[in-house]
Assembly symmetry: C2
Amino acid sequence: MVINNSKIYNPTQHKHLKLGLFGFGCVGQGLYHVLNETHGIKAEIKKICVKSKEKQRILDSAQFTFDKNEILLDEEINVVVELIDDAKAAFEIVKTALQNGKHVVTANKRMIAENLEEIYHLQQQYNRSVLYEGAVCGSIPILRNLEEYYDNDLITSIEGIFNGSTNYILTKVFEEKKSYTEALKGAQDLGFAESDPSLDVEAFDPKFKLTIAIAHTFGVFLKPEEIINIGIQKISPVDLKYARENNLTIKLIARAYKQKGRIFGFVAPQFIPLDHMLAGVRNEYNAVLVEGAFAEKQVFIGKGAGGYPTGSAVLSDISALAYDYRYEYKKFAQREGLPFSNEALVDVVVSFPLGTLITPKDFEIFKGGYQGKDYQYMTGSVKIIKLKALSDLNNVSLILAPELNLAVIDSDKKELLYA
Amino acid sequence: MVINNSKIYNPTQHKHLKLGLFGFGCVGQGLYHVLNETHGIKAEIKKICVKSKEKQRILDSAQFTFDKNEILLDEEINVVVELIDDAKAAFEIVKTALQNGKHVVTANKRMIAENLEEIYHLQQQYNRSVLYEGAVCGSIPILRNLEEYYDNDLITSIEGIFNGSTNYILTKVFEEKKSYTEALKGAQDLGFAESDPSLDVEAFDPKFKLTIAIAHTFGVFLKPEEIINIGIQKISPVDLKYARENNLTIKLIARAYKQKGRIFGFVAPQFIPLDHMLAGVRNEYNAVLVEGAFAEKQVFIGKGAGGYPTGSAVLSDISALAYDYRYEYKKFAQREGLPFSNEALVDVVVSFPLGTLITPKDFEIFKGGYQGKDYQYMTGSVKIIKLKALSDLNNVSLILAPELNLAVIDSDKKELLYA
């Protein structure tokens, strides 16, 4: 058994990386600063391709180009760093870069989620690497850990807070009693929100991340459309009141789990008890809880948004390319892929104005209801597939019950609040 | 730039590992079960060397030997898994194994901590790998993350709960008002405690882990003797009362940080506010908080003790050997090593019987005191180097003040409780 010497640290053996950068927004500028202040990694940005010719830039104009081919056809550039907004254009850049023999680092969750199976095959076909740690939960090294560390553990679930800007909004709404609009504005000002805020608040962004996480956790390539996403935009004053009266908060939870040979997954707001560890994950922080057969519960917490944290994840990927790192997609290669389904039952709390908009018949298992002066709510179990239809009803707000099948740190305290 | 093909997942290229196991206690048996139930890793235990000829074993006696050379001289065995208690004997096994061309996986924190610099050089000399993820915080993949992910981040501190059995004891003492002896017995029954409990309760075990973590975080090889460790054995009813009255709990905290070109580090009990995320890390769970320049605060939580979680970490190391993984000790190789010092100031709360056992002159900066009916306490700043002498005084209990220079998740709330 001979050790591969390229794994022994030797600065002279590490490849010198010439980067071509697409996009120079929040994450691009974060990367630029992180790269400048870091020693120990040999990488330099040769050219930055941007769209707007008008925008003021912090760098000399000679650094920039408006022609993508100045990067894609430059043989000296061996790594394309793709940090633009437009998922379709981004995928074209990725494909061309791979065809032209370049590795790719990207933080574009939508582009990766929508094209993951093809990107997997393109990597094999062109023998080049596409890394995207920055696309899933910002600074948290979750993909690297799923790839490298949990390959021998039988993971049963992965779940958590996958979106920084909605977590920031929910924190401000709950703790500072800010209005939703005010809180969203704050998230945008801080650079946490996507340029199209509906991607965050309607839970598409965390769904893209969950799609990617499912591939690396369970070896299943899904299309984002297969996963149900319920956003936070319909959370009502009634829900906030309900939460406060019951020592709960609300978090937007992404979750996937294995049960009886099938994989289930969805994104939806959930009531979380105040003494639950996820309740303490505040502002733009993200949290990922992995539960496996042997390592049992593992939690990763870190900043899920912002130029520096995401830029740092992007730079970790660039750094990994210096020693030829690539994702192995072991669970897929081992053909562990199980069928994905939306047929599991989940417990929900549905609030709505007085009337018969929702009746006990809408639940697979009806568990109870409460009627107030001008609103009512009902709790019970529904199939995942039905979550969207229910939450799309006018004036109806749907939030998952705090059933605590979440991996909890205080494992002694597992109890159903809705028994 | 050519991708190293050995990194592409291909089960036939992965090495077949023949393991020789030393020790078959809690972790050894955990590993045996984890290995048996895992597919996707080609490793088999060829022989297990144990000490006691009398003990009942769960496996056929043909699997066992009492002669270490049956493993160390067996050319077919390419990985030695060292899981015995005795650090001196363990180091001899590791040295001989490396000399004989075998890789080593171990969970022996004391042996690694006491010999880390030599083990680093032995790996270079014999071109073999020694992996020890299971030695630091059980199931938490902290070494792998420090090695692989944070090499481009400028880490400023690493800290947390590094010992499962004392955390279990403190949890039971606080939450179930158990006596210290009762709680220790519980930890031992569950297999969380070291066979010599003083290693846990006097904080030697977390100190060994901190010694190892400092090498991989800051590139400094220390001897454990250089690091001050204060245990939990002198925590008094007065301290518990003080904690309860001030919405605090007590955790045994290991901490290392970089400040003005020097590295500081120690292990000591600390008062922790109940709404601090470390307060919620209960029972045998461990937590590691890493703070860096760009990724900012990152938290890892997982089980820090027990046969399965540690066995799982050991198996992850074995699995990594199948693709020739080895620690690169990048921070050491990059000569980032800064001097280690015990001259920094830390804030403490000292409780003791009425009298002049401790006076304001014992503090560099005296901050205040309180005198009760039959005890008193004082708070103030002392140098790390003085912690041991103070806490060694008869009838004196010393606990770090909740100064919250801990990386906190609720970063808005940073405030000194002792201002």
